[in-house]
């Protein structure tokens, strides 16, 4: 295995640079086999890997006595056993003309999020179609996701052409079919190639059996396709990753230039705050630079001491990003639990994390017809156009103009799963200078006048746990102390403000969101507002908590065991739910998520309602909400 003794000079650096592409399409259209073929024909399968491949093919192969090239990329045990691709695999190969990173993505709808993972880093897509089956739903779904993610060049690889006798009619029929769909997707180029991944026709070498086809082979195409995504030509954007402060004499902002370029002396602005300064140094471990371009990892030093932190976006003053707290975006949902408008998620955009919620779902998209469909939620793998609101303004560019600053992910705040991927289409409201009007009568003035601080007392617990009884007692007691109060509960809210809402999960979320907003207004007005709602989901309780200031939300968990609630059943609801006459009843066929960080837990099992109310008042005194 040693070389022939003399040292060889490495080949010329590839002229076209690196190409990142993905293979996608429906199950069994031959994606993994195609990549296996590319690697095999490029002589990139090493001897020990070939031995392992032959062994695996005998054990798991689907190609009779031949080696099964798909097993080169299906690296997980479960994948080899089931003969499917579950997760994206990254493979590396190079030819004298170019180096490649290829993402082999799964075809099953179930694993769409893994396909999107592969597509988000790619510059071109090879979409496979089985010549016998033609264009399928997954072909369309993947094509649509590729276009949403901004991939501009696609190859339609009509695979298994050997199984339709290399028929040009069949090929042209499929191509026509595909163009009919894909025209609306706005790809810059679509190149159609008939191939047989299993036998190698038109993959790396021209096929004798497909003489009627005059276009490039797949590899020829990949070696020449233009992958320049023009990030260098976009306006300068620099998300601050890390504040570099080794000592009092140095303060730099480390990060990677997302787009454009910057030169010493340029005037820079912190997008969100609007503060400006001049760039005085571009520091790297290899010495200072005069300028930096998209993709460079550098540390910037400004002339003035500005308040800049991780999450800030630096731009040149002559080309600023938008700064908004309301925007429209396409969202691909990737969690088992559906997306619920109103629920608070953690949004990551650039280097910034900010709480955000979908304020409305305008429509979801049928991937087969691209039609807009009215919907209340997005389920796993669905795509919709949403309006979103963030807790504080964020700086961005529309995704179509800049992939780096227009993309975001949504994170489930309870299990930290990556739940959604978003691409901003446009901002809805300029937040710049829309700082809330400062009214002359402010919170402090109201606190002084009232003699107590405002707060939300949030009573949560099962139906029949005693929430309302306790809340009523607390309100009476507070009133007698001259405290301004108001009580919100299901009875006075469901009949008016929220009479359009039912008891589905989506409606429950909206119910609590509206209650939270009303409660916030009361807090603003200086009141102590008591809210008594089952509010079974942690996410919604946290959402309300975040509407008000630190210490203004007091969560009181009225902890009564379900057996006891069923026994009490003051309104006869449990009996009806158990008889199946009420659907989605908390504790029966809908879950209750126990609070993890309630300010106060009241176990009514060994406490009277009066004693419980007294404990609430003690808690409010301890928190200096009342005197």
């Amino acid at each position: 295995m040693a070389p022939d003794g003399t040292s060889k000079t490495p080949p010329e650096a590839p002229g076209k640079g690196l190409l990142r592409f993905l293979t996608c399409g429906s199950v069994d259209d031959g994606k993994s086999t195609l990549i296996g073929r590319l690697l095999y024909d490029s002589k990139l399968i090493l001897e020990d890997q070939l031995v392992a491949l032959a062994r695996d093919s005998r054990k798991h192969g689907t190609t009779g006595d031949d080696i099964d090239l798909a097993l080169l990329v299906d690296g997980l045990e479960a994948e080899r056993e089931q003969g499917i691709t579950i997760d994206v695999a990254y493979r590396f190969f190079s030819t004298p003309k170019r180096s490649f990173i290829v993402a082999d993505t799964p075809g099953h709808e179930q694993y769409t999020r893994n396909m999107a993972t592969g597509a988000s880093g790619s510059e071109a897509a090879v979409i496979l179609v089985d010549a016998r089956k033609g264009v399928l739903t997954q072909t369309r779904r993947h094509s649509y996701i590729c276009s949403l993610l901004g991939i501009r060049h696609v190859v339609l690889a009509v695979n298994k052409i050997d199984l339709v006798d290399f028929s040009p009619e069949r090929f042209h029929h499929i191509v026509g079919d595909y163009f009919g769909f894909a025209q609306a997707l706005g790809f810059e180029s679509i190149t159609s190639i008939p191939v047989s991944a299993r036998f190698g026709d038109n993959v790396t070498s021209r096929s004798e059996r497909l003489r009627w086809y005059e276009g490039p082979t797949l590899l020829e195409y990949l070696e020449t396709v233009d992958a320049d995504h023009e990030l260098a030509a976009r306006p300068f954007r620099f998300p601050v990753q890390w504040v570099n402060r080794p000592n009092l004499d140095f303060r730099g902002y480390s990060g990677t230039v997302a787009s454009g370029s910057v030169t010493l002396g340029d005037r820079l602005v912190v997008a969100a705050s609007g503060r400006e300064s001049a760039l005085v140094r571009i520091v790297t471990a290899d010495g200072d630079l005069r300028s930096a371009q998209a993709g460079d990892a550098v540390t910037l030093v400004l002339a003035d001491e500005l308040d800049v932190a991780r999450g800030d976006l630096l731009a040149r003053t002559d080309a600023r990003p938008e700064v908004v707290d309301q925007f429209a975006a396409h969202v691909l949902w990737m969690a088992e639990e559906p997306m619920l408008p109103g629920r608070s998620y953690l949004m990551r955009i650039g280097t910034r994390y900010v709480p955000a919620r979908v304020t409305s779902l305008k429509h979801k998209i049928d991937v087969n017809t691209l039609e807009h469909i009215a919907a209340k939620t997005l389920a796993l793998n669905e795509i919709g156009l949403c309006n979103l609101g963030s807790a504080t303004p964020v700086a961005f560019d529309p995704y179509a103009e800049n992939r780096e600053t227009g993309a975001f992910i949504l994170i489930d705040r309870f299990n930290n799963a990556t739940a959604g991927a978003g691409m901003i289409t446009f901002g809805l409201r300029r937040a710049t200078n829309v700082h809330l009007q400062s009214l002359s009568i402010n919170r402090e003035a109201r606190v002084r006048r009232n003699g107590h601080r405002p707060a939300i007392l949030w009573f949560t617990g099962l139906s029949g746990s005693g929430k309302s009884t306790i809340a009523n007692l607390v309100e009476k007691e507070l009133h007698s102390h001259g405290v301004h109060t108001y009580l919100l509960d299901g009875d006075n809210v469901r009949h008016g403000l929220n009479r359009d809402l039912g008891f589905t999960d989506a409606d429950r979320v909206e119910n609590i969101r509206r209650v939270g907003e009303v409660a916030r207004l009361f807090v603003d007005a200086g009141l102590i507002v008591l809210c008594s709602f089952i509010s079974p989901f942690r996410a919604e309780r946290r959402m309300v908590r975040e509407l008000v200031g630190e210490g203004e939300f007091v969560e009181i968990f009225v902890d009564t065991p379900i057996e006891e609630c069923v026994r009490r059943d003051p309104k006869g609801l449990y009996a009806r739910a158990q008889a199946g006459k009420i659907k989605n009843f908390t504790g029966i066929d809908s879950p209750y998520e126990v609070p993890e960080q309630a300010e106060l837990v009241i176990s009514t099992h060994d406490l009277s309602a009066e004693e419980a109310a007294r404990r609430v008042l003690c808690e409010l005194r301890a928190r200096q909400i009342i005197g």
Partner: protein, 299 residues
């Protein structure tokens, strides 16, 4: 001067390291002394300049590393002034677990995988950098750059977090950790070309030299000390060999080679017809071996 390709890879790795430093309470960099660790450490020193890397190095010492590796490790820690933690599984040591009589599987399980988990727990690290690359092995080709581990350091390859763009999800709950792979998109050739271009010190075992070798099961095992017993009929012979991948010495096979400089190693790469892990005894233990070890917590 780095090629554009290497510049791009370096910038991507630096971005990943800064991300970890900014988001995690207590990160650590696994340092296995090999060429990938060398590249990773070199980039960490560049990433935070003029600051020092805001995390220590951790070496899991099985007690069976080549003596040259340990010398190199201590030299590097001193030269760069980085904090180096060394950990050995005390129970494994007490039980006398070793790669020869315990077998490679048990040895790896106890002295590497378990030891690593113990060390992460002992110091409460919430993120750990590893030098693994996707081109090394097919289950590694499936791994995310920010790879989530549930309590007990378990990897669930069938249910990984989607990882779109470079918007890494760095959020974890109590007791959960993240393994981070800054070299995910590097190939073995990239590593050597970068090592050469940046003049990064590497363990001398990577360079060809005459060494005492035992031929066992078709593999060339270098006898680093007397603890490796010779089986009947075996004898050591001097061969000019080098290593492509370094681990515990009885489990790492050498290759015959005359490449004695970085330049010659790079040239050899272009002609290579076997993969670098072909000399790793532990990979051949069973099919899907790497995935199994990774699920249990191996890097």
């Amino acid at each position: 001067m780095l090629s554009r390709h290497l510049q791009r890879l370096e910038a991507e790795s630096i971005e990943i390291m800064r991300e970890v430093a900014a988001e995690f309470a207590n990160p650590v960099m696994l340092y296995s002394i090999g060429k990938d660790s060398g590249v990773m450490l070199h980039m960490a020193l560049k990433a935070f300049y003029p600051s020092k890397p805001p995390f220590p190095l951790l070496h899991i010492d099985t007690g069976w590393k080549f003596r040259d590796m340990i010398r190199h490790r201590d030299m590097i820690a001193e030269r760069y002034g980085v904090r180096l933690l060394v950990y050995t599984n005390p129970e494994g040591l007490a039980r006398g677990i070793n790669p020869i009589t315990s077998g490679s599987q048990l040895h790896t399980q106890v002295m590497k995988t378990e030891a690593l988990k113990q060390a992460l727990d002992k110091w409460g690290f919430d993120a750990a950098f590893g030098g693994a690359r996707r081109d090394e092995e097919k289950s590694r080709a499936k791994e995310r750059i920010f790879s989530f581990r549930s309590k007990g350091h378990v990897w669930d390859p069938r249910n990984q977090r989607p990882e779109l763009w470079r918007l890494y999800n760095t959020r974890i709950g109590k007791g959960e950790t993240i393994r981070v792979f800054p070299l995910s998109n590097w190939t073995e050739l990239d590593v050597w070309q970068y090592t050469q271009a940046e003049d990064i010190p590497v363990v001398p075992l990577y360079f060809a030299a005459p060494r005492p070798v035992v031929l066992r099961d078709g593999l060339l095992i270098v006898r680093d000390d007397e603890r490796l017993p010779l089986e009947p009929g075996e004898r050591t012979q001097m061969r000019t060999v080098r290593f492509r991948s370094l681990g515990c010495y009885p489990l790492s096979a050498a290759v015959e080679s005359t490449a004695a400089t970085l330049e010659e190693i790079v040239a050899e790469m272009f002609a290579a017809r076997t993969s670098e892990r072909s000399g790793r005894v532990i990979d051949a233990d069973e099919a899907a071996s790497m995935e199994k070890k990774k699920r249990e917590g191996y890097f």
